[in-house]
């Protein structure tokens, strides 16, 4: 077991856990966007930053990826952390102003109108869909394409992917509802491009199409707000 200090509290953590895991074990809440328990942490949204003391002063680290180390002193809501978090949220709001999850996050942090307007896309490039498709489903149907500000999620060549199994896991993990699911008769289309993709066999059960009950279930869970 590792012993470290978070927000003044001495906490014990399992060797190999991250600061985020150690904090949550002890009821200390740190907001996240690109983190998911079932996936390898990615460290891209920077919302979960925490202040770590070092001999040369403090620095911010992403708590979802930074390991809980023996004797570490961490602050999760210090001024340094809050200033960074507010800026991150303001930038996200500037890029995805209509995404409800981002609006709620901003409101909870007292971030009002962003000082700049960057884009209007609900996709915040957290990468959860790509990572889920790769790590959990194993279909590798979508990936991150392009670079920098033009980075986006796309199947190869921007057309329906042969590798997609239509499981809609990507829809499930997306925090902002950027991926749209449309089920019409036996055709399922994901994200909005009308692709008549082959329903390849589900790797787990072998069925060639999704049962209506599952479709309905996914539909119902999507009707609820994603947090």
């Amino acid at each position: 077991m590792i012993s470290l200090t978070i927000d003044g509290h001495k906490v014990e953590a399992i060797d190999g856990s991250s600061i985020l895991e150690a904090a949550r074990e002890h009821g200390i809440e740190i907001p996240t966007l690109c983190y998911h328990e079932a996936l390898q942490p990615y460290g891209s949204c920077r919302l979960c930053v925490a202040e770590l003391e070092t001999p040369r002063g403090s620095r911010l680290v992403a708590s979802c990826v930074y390991p809980a180390e023996e004797g570490a002193v961490v602050r999760t809501h210090s001024e340094m952390v809050l200033r960074s978090r507010r800026m991150t949220v303001e930038l996200l709001l500037a890029a995805a102003p209509q995404a409800r999850a981002i609006q709620e996050l901003a409101a909870s942090m007292g971030v009002q109108e962003p000082r700049i307007s960057l884009s209007d896309s609900n996709c915040i490039l957290c990468g959860l869909c790509v990572r889920a498709c790769r790590e959990i489903v194993g279909a590798n149907a979508i990936s991150l394409v392009n670079r920098g500000f033009s980075k986006e999620v796309s199947p190869p060549f921007d057309i329906g992917s042969n590798a997609c199994v239509g499981c809609a896991t990507c829809v499930l993990v997306c925090p902002t509802g950027a991926i749209r699911l449309k089920d019409v008769l036996t055709n399922r289309s994901v994200h909005g491009w009308e692709s008549d993709f082959r329903r390849t066999a589900c790797k787990i059960c072998g069925d060639h199409y999704l049962a209506p009950e599952l479709t309905a279930q996914v539909g119902e869970s999507l009707a609820e707000p994603r947090v």
Binding site: S44, R46, R59, M80, T88, R147, G148
Partner: protein
């Protein structure tokens, strides 16, 4: 080709090669680095070959095409050895005369010698050229002497002697100690002690380890590594093999950017020859140590100079950095302990091993040992590659070596470290070049790119240029860099277009601070540096743009106006005819006028006017 199987055989080979060469034999050294090639040095060397053949002198006079000599401004550079006669701007037509007059008759050709602008005197010998005098060329020492595609040239000059010593006379831990004691710090920019990094990797758990040479020199304006790899690739290889021995790695990679075709080719040839001669492969020099090196191409992504993105690229993935820890020394390429160092760092290693840590740590300052190579470019008279001991001042580099600013203009600032670095204004040019002193001024050593800005440089536009570069090169993974630098770029662009708002500077500072603290990798963490440092030292220029809608350096087009001075204008009509926007009107012999609404500010009129009548405000 001789396979060398033991240190003794290496010694014998070297002796045989040295004996077979006459050090007093006259020879011609022609610079065939990329810069001089663009100016036609390949044609020059071909001309020498033809001339020497034609005159039947090729037995008596040697000819060698070398790597970059460093004095790029004066290329093509030709140096006659052993006398050291230095000829600059040599053309194909000069060759017969050089052979007949200088090589045969010993007469110096005035028009080809270098004139020192400070004294107006002609300088005949390379060693007297001011550009070279204050340099301490240790890493670049052989660049003017050897053919980089001939390993035997390197062996003649004691090449692979350090490897022999390390493999057969030192234990791996002893090699690491030597490098630690030398004080050698990484030359890629971060300045982390190389020996300490090696030790971390050696101590990491695992049997499979890797060595990487980061040759993805991406800072625009920096070409130190290119010149090392073009001119003396074996020095880099030797350093890597020694490092691999110390760490316990058996496979190495050189990640080299594809924009350097000559360096890639020379490196490829060097690796092949090193393998043939027995310095790479199995049981090197009879030590029982196996090591091989592969070249991996960069594919046009500045972010792949960041070590975790570089490794992702070698792993056939997109160049997205990943958070650290774990550090590459513990978990790197394919999850194995990996040691990555920059080209220049590797090139220093054979020097440290051969001549010792004691000698090496005698050069430089207290905390910054050895020499550093800089590419001095921009508004400078002597553009070129400069190697100085740590502790030399910026002033010495810019004025004594660099020859000052063209046109006698004032030097405003110097930019170090490319898109990750800050600028140092002229009032601080007495700063010694070492890691700590530069940091105090808000700048960094960087990899060695040194861009000189004269008084006509707009520092706001300069900062905007770097932010634009960062936006093009950002991998896009993390929010602060992807979106934050976009925001900074939009604000900077507005300012340079005359649409700056009150509060913009404060917003830039806030964004800069947060992006610096919150970004995932070094690219994002350092991206705000050029902006923050120009705000620190040139706030007045920002304020002029924002509050007065004025660009004091007359660079930002929307903020400058072109007009014609009626007193000077003769009405010749040249500008009227050439103006692509048909914005100039006027009768023959009458002063012409520029219509501001139509003017597209292309400066064609300024270029063609023979009467200096176009006024820039």
């Amino acid at each position: 080709m001789t396979t060398v199987r033991t240190p003794e055989e290496l010694g014998l080979l070297r002796q045989r090669l040295v004996d077979g060469r006459d050090p007093d034999q006259p020879r011609v050294s022609v610079c065939c680095g990329t810069g001089c090639r663009v100016n036609g040095s390949i044609d020059v060397i071909e001309a020498f070959r033809r001339e020497l053949d034609g005159q039947r002198l090729n037995g008596d006079i040697g000819l060698v095409g070398t790597g970059c000599h460093g004095f790029c401004e004066k290329g093509p550079v030709v140096v006659l050895k052993p006398s050291g006669v230095f000829y600059q701007r040599v053309g194909v037509d000069d060759v017969p005369e050089i052979v007949a007059e200088t090589m045969v008759n010993g007469a110096v050709i005035d028009r080809l010698t270098y004139t020192d602008p400070a004294t107006d005197k002609k300088i005949v010998y390379e060693r007297d050229v001011p550009f070279y005098q204050k340099q301490k060329r240790l890493v670049l020492d052989l660049n003017g002497d050897i053919d980089p595609t001939n390993i035997e040239d390197y062996i003649v000059f004691n090449g692979y002697a350090a490897l022999s010593k390390a493999l057969l006379q030192m234990k791996p831990e002893e090699v690491i100690e030597e490098v630690v004691h030398s004080g050698l710090r990484g030359r890629g920019g971060a300045g982390f002690p190389a020996g300490v990094k090696w030790r971390l990797c050696r101590e990491a758990k695992g049997d499979v380890k890797y060595i990487i040479c980061n040759a993805d020199e991406g800072d625009p304006g920096a070409y130190m590594d290119r010149s090392i790899m073009e001119g003396n690739p074996h020095r880099v290889l030797e350093g890597m093999i020694i490092g691999a021995w110390a760490i316990g790695a058996h496979q190495g990679y050189v990640y080299i950017r594809n924009e350097y075709p000559l360096a890639v080719e020379n490196l490829r040839i060097a690796i092949e020859q090193a393998g043939e001669y027995g310095f790479l492969g199995r049981n090197i020099l009879g030590s029982g140590f196996d090591f091989s090196i592969q070249i991996r191409p960069g594919s046009g992504a500045f972010v792949c100079g960041e070590e975790t993105a570089l490794m992702a690229s070698i792993e056939d993935r997109i160049g997205e950095p990943r958070p650290r820890p774990p550090y590459p020394a513990v978990s790197g390429l394919w999850g194995k302990p990996t040691n990555i160092n920059n080209v220049e760092t590797w090139a220093n290693v054979p020097l440290v091993i051969c001549r010792g840590a004691e000698w090496y740590s005698g050069i430089g300052t207290d905390k910054s040992k050895g020499t550093k190579i800089f590419s001095v470019v921009g508004n400078i008279n002597n553009t070129g590659l400069v190697e100085v001991p740590m502790g030399a001042t910026l002033s010495e580099v810019i004025y004594d070596i660099g020859g000052g600013i063209p046109g006698g203009k004032r030097c405003k600032a110097v930019q170090l470290g490319g898109p990750s670095g800050g600028c140092v204004p002229s009032e601080h040019f007495d700063v010694p070049i070492d890691y700590e002193s530069l940091q105090k001024l808000g700048a960094i050593m960087g990899s060695g790119g040194m861009v000189v800005c004269d008084e006509d440089t707009c520092m706001v536009e300069f900062a905007r240029f770097f932010m634009d570069f960062v936006q093009q090169e950002s991998c896009g993974k993390c929010v602060p860099c992807r979106l934050g630098t976009r925001a900074m770029l939009e604000v900077l662009t507005r300012i340079t277009q005359g649409q700056g708002k009150e509060g913009d500077i404060a917003y830039l500072e806030e964004l800069g601070e947060q992006i610096g603290q919150s970004s995932l990798c070094g690219l994002g963490q350092t991206a705000p540096n050029p902006v923050l440092s120009t705000i620190r030292y040139f706030r007045d220029e920002y304020e002029a743009h924002i509050l007065d809608s004025r660009c004091p350096s007359h660079v930002c087009k929307p903020l400058i106006q072109y007009s014609i001075d009626a007193e000077k204008c003769t009405g010749c009509g040249r500008c009227l005819r050439k103006c692509p926007a048909e914005a100039i009107s006027g009768a023959k012999k009458e002063p012409h006028v520029i219509d501001q609404e139509k003017c597209i500010k292309c400066e064609t009129c300024l270029e063609v006017c023979k009467f200096d009548a176009v006024v820039v405000e």
